[in-house]
Structures are given as structure tokens and as C-alpha cells.
């Protein structure tokens, strides 16, 4: 590199001297370099089908300025001035066209946005309707299931009463073939996993109180085991033996005593927001 420099410099100087002497004799007018560049930029802009039609006046202006800059007879200072103006006017034309292009684009974009907003609203309405439909369907299904289980709604939740036909006298084992209601309860609980149950055993007043308490507790446990065998999580089921403490009818008559011998299953209402 270094020898190149030392060699090149004198050569350039020599060339310069030759060029100078040539110019002095016969100055050949040339189009200023800047004007050539301005012409190229202008031509590119004029042939831009997207932009050119958007700034006709500015392009006419730029064309005139470029033509002026291309004149051969101008003094160097005037030529430089004309080139500057020409370049700037080409840039102005380009910026004007770009601004207008963006403004037109905005109309289309705004229309697109309106369409999207409308669609979003429609979808929202649809989805709200679907949610409402689903909730109604669910409520109806729940009611049907409750009806099927012969349960009644109370302040404590749903109360399902299983009669003494489930058990042999003084026994806590469930009678085979009498568990249809329990099967329905198990299905119900698997469908509504946010609900839990309390199983209460009750007896009539025949027999000792302690014995009755124990029997009612064992019968409640027996129902709980049945539910667990049918897939209900043990944590959702609690039991309580009530003995003869909460009769629903008089223990004086056989019919009343039969009503009192029962298992009540209280299904808790779900947490408020889930339905």
C-alpha cells in the first residue's frame, strides 16, 4: 500500500496539471454530476406507478428544476445552486407522494379496523349467547337429574332421602338391588365435582339410644363406602350418625317409625360463581 501512495501522488499532480491546461484551452461543458444523480432519482420516482400519480405538481416542479440543473452553460456557483434545488425538489416530490400514499392507505386501514371491530362485537354477542344457552342447558340438565334422584332443594342444599328399604333391620349393609338412587347420586357427583356431600344416618326410637347412634353412623359409613367404590373421592364425603335425635315423623306409629329410619344425603350447593 505504502509505495502505491508515494507513486500515485506525483502522478495525480501531473495529471491535474495536464487536465488544467486542457480546460484552460477548451473548456468542455459537462452536465454537473449532481444533476445526473437528481435526474436518476427523478426518473425512478416518475416511473414508480404507486407514487408518481400522487404528486403531479411536485413532479412537474422537480422536472423543471432538474432540467435547469442539467444546463451546460452555468457558472460553477450557479450550477451548484441549481443542482441543490433540483435534488431538494425531487425529494419534496417523493415525500409529498409518500404522504398522500399513506393518507390513502389510512382510509383502507380504517375500514379494515371497523370491520374487525364489528366482527369482534358480533363474536362477543355470539359467545355470550352461547354461554347463556350452555348455562340454561346445564341448569335444565341438573334439574332433571335432581328430579330423577327424588331430591329436594333446601337451604342446606339438595337433600336426598333414602328410605329404610336400603337396609335389613338392625343391619348396616346395603341391600343388593336397592341402590338405584345411590348410583344416580354417584353419577351426579362425578358430573359436578365441585359439590360435596354429607351423609346422615337416622333411626327410629326403638332400641337404646347409643345403639341407634352407632347403627345410624354405620349405615352412613356404608353409603359412603358405596359412593367411594363408585369413584367419588372420599374427601368429598363426610358422615354423621344422628341416631334417633332428628325424627321426621312420630315414632308412635309403624308408618312414622319407618319414615324416621332413613339416610339423608345433603349435597352442598356449589361455590357461588361456578354456575
Amino acid at each position: 500500500m505504502k509505495p502505491m501512495h508515494t507513486l500515485a501522488l506525483p502522478r495525480l499532480v501531473a495529471a491535474g496539471i495536464v487536465a488544467c491546461s486542457l480546460v484552460a484551452c477548451a473548456p468542455t461543458p459537462v452536465v454537473p454530476e449532481g444533476a445526473i444523480q437528481a435526474r436518476a432519482d427523478l426518473t425512478r420516482l416518475q416511473s414508480d406507478a404507486k407514487l408518481a400519480p400522487l404528486a403531479p405538481e411536485a413532479l412537474t416542479d422537480a422536472e423543471a428544476a432538474v432540467q435547469l440543473a442539467e444546463q451546460l452553460d452555468a457558472a460553477p456557483e450557479l450550477a451548484a445552486h441549481r443542482v441543490y434545488i433540483a435534488q431538494r425538489k425531487v425529494e419534496v416530490a417523493k415525500a409529498v407522494a409518500e404522504a398522500r400514499y399513506a393518507e390513502r392507505e389510512r382510509t383502507a386501514l380504517a375500514a379494515e379496523l371497523d370491520r374487525a371491530r364489528l366482527e369482534a362485537r358480533e363474536r362477543e354477542v355470539d359467545s355470550a349467547r352461547m354461554d347463556a344457552d350452555a348455562a340454561r342447558t346445564q341448569t335444565a340438565a341438573l334439574q332433571a337429574e335432581i328430579d330423577a334422584m327424588n331430591a329436594r332443594s333446601t337451604d342446606r342444599g339438595l337433600v336426598l332421602t333414602l328410605g329404610d328399604v336400603l337396609f335389613e333391620t338392625a343391619k348396616a349393609d346395603l341391600k343388593a338391588g336397592s341402590v338405584a338412587d345411590l348410583d344416580q347420586l354417584a353419577t351426579f357427583l362425578s358430573k359436578y365435582p365441585d359439590r360435596s356431600v354429607v351423609i346422615e344416618g337416622h333411626t327410629d326410637s326403638v332400641g337404646g339410644e347409643d345403639y341407634n347412634l352407632g347403627l345410624s353412623q354405620r349405615r352412613a359409613e356404608s353409603v359412603r363406602s358405596y359412593l367411594m367404590r363408585h369413584g367419588v373421592d372420599p374427601s368429598r364425603v363426610t358422615t354423621q350418625g344422628m341416631g334417633e335425635s332428628a325424627p321426621v315423623a312420630s315414632n308412635e306409629s309403624a308408618g312414622g317409625r319407618q319414615q324416621n329410619r332413613r339416610v339423608e344425603i345433603i349435597v352442598s350447593n356449589p361455590p357461588a360463581t361456578s354456575m
Binding site: 431538494r88 425538489k89 404522504a99 374487525a116 371491530r117 369482534a120 363474536r123
Partner: protein, 135 residues
């Protein structure tokens, strides 16, 4: 901000007028080229327009160039270089016009970008709703 701008412009105007009238007197005296009053006025007008369009924010190099060219034009008038003054004033005007045009383009493009962003946000939102809403 506005006040200082006005004040600055006012001062500039006064200086400009003084320069022009001074130059005019001299020109009359010497019977040489008259000062390029019209060019200087129209350059000032173009700069004012650009400033109003907030070119200082969106096309500040072009606006600065316009201002310093106009200042140079006024100096040239004082030095009785009328031809030079006329050229500088014309260049100042074109610089200011470019500042305005670029500002308009930048603003329009930014506005479109904003709409595009809202649009995309909305589409994303709908997408999420469509995916998450069916559970």
C-alpha cells in the same frame, strides 16, 4: 415554548426588515441589484409553515438547514451579495418545503402504524377468545 418561539421569530423578522431596508437603501444608492425581498419573505413563510406542522419534531435536520440558509441569505443581503442572497433564500425555502413534506409523510405513516397496531391487537384478541372461549 410558544412565547419564546414567537419572540425569536419576531426578533428575526425585525432583523430581517432592517437588513432588507438597509440593503434597499444601499441598492438605491448604488443602483445595483435590488435585495431579494420576495424570496426572503417566501423562505420565511415556508419556514413558518414547517414550524407550524411540527417539523422541528419530525424533520429537524431539514428545518435547521432552512433556518441557517435564511440567516445566511440575510447576511448576504447585508454584504450586498444580492445574487448569493437570492440563491440562499431559494434554497432555504426548498429546505423548509422538504421539512414540511417529510413531516406530513412521517405523521401519516405513524398514524397508519397506529391503526395497524390496533387492528392486530383486535385480531389477536379475537384469536385468543376463539381459542379460550370454547372450554
Amino acid at each position: 415554548m410558544l412565547n419564546t418561539n414567537h419572540a425569536r421569530r419576531g426578533r428575526r423578522r425585525t432583523g430581517l426588515l432592517a437588513a432588507i431596508s438597509g440593503a434597499a437603501l444601499l441598492a438605491a444608492g448604488c443602483a445595483s441589484t435590488p435585495a431579494p425581498t420576495a424570496q426572503i419573505e417566501s423562505a420565511q413563510q415556508a419556514i413558518d409553515d414547517a414550524e407550524r406542522a411540527e417539523a422541528a419534531k419530525h424533520a429537524s435536520p431539514e428545518l435547521s438547514q432552512a433556518r441557517s440558509k435564511l440567516a445566511a441569505a440575510n447576511t448576504a443581503v447585508q454584504n450586498e451579495e444580492m445574487e448569493q442572497a437570492a440563491r440562499l433564500a431559494e434554497e432555504a425555502r426548498v429546505d423548509a418545503e422538504l421539512a414540511s413534506a417529510r413531516t406530513a409523510a412521517v405523521k401519516a405513516q405513524a398514524a397508519n402504524e397506529e391503526i395497524r397496531r390496533s387492528n392486530q391487537a383486535l385480531l389477536d384478541e379475537m384469536d385468543r377468545a376463539a381459542k379460550g372461549g370454547t372450554q
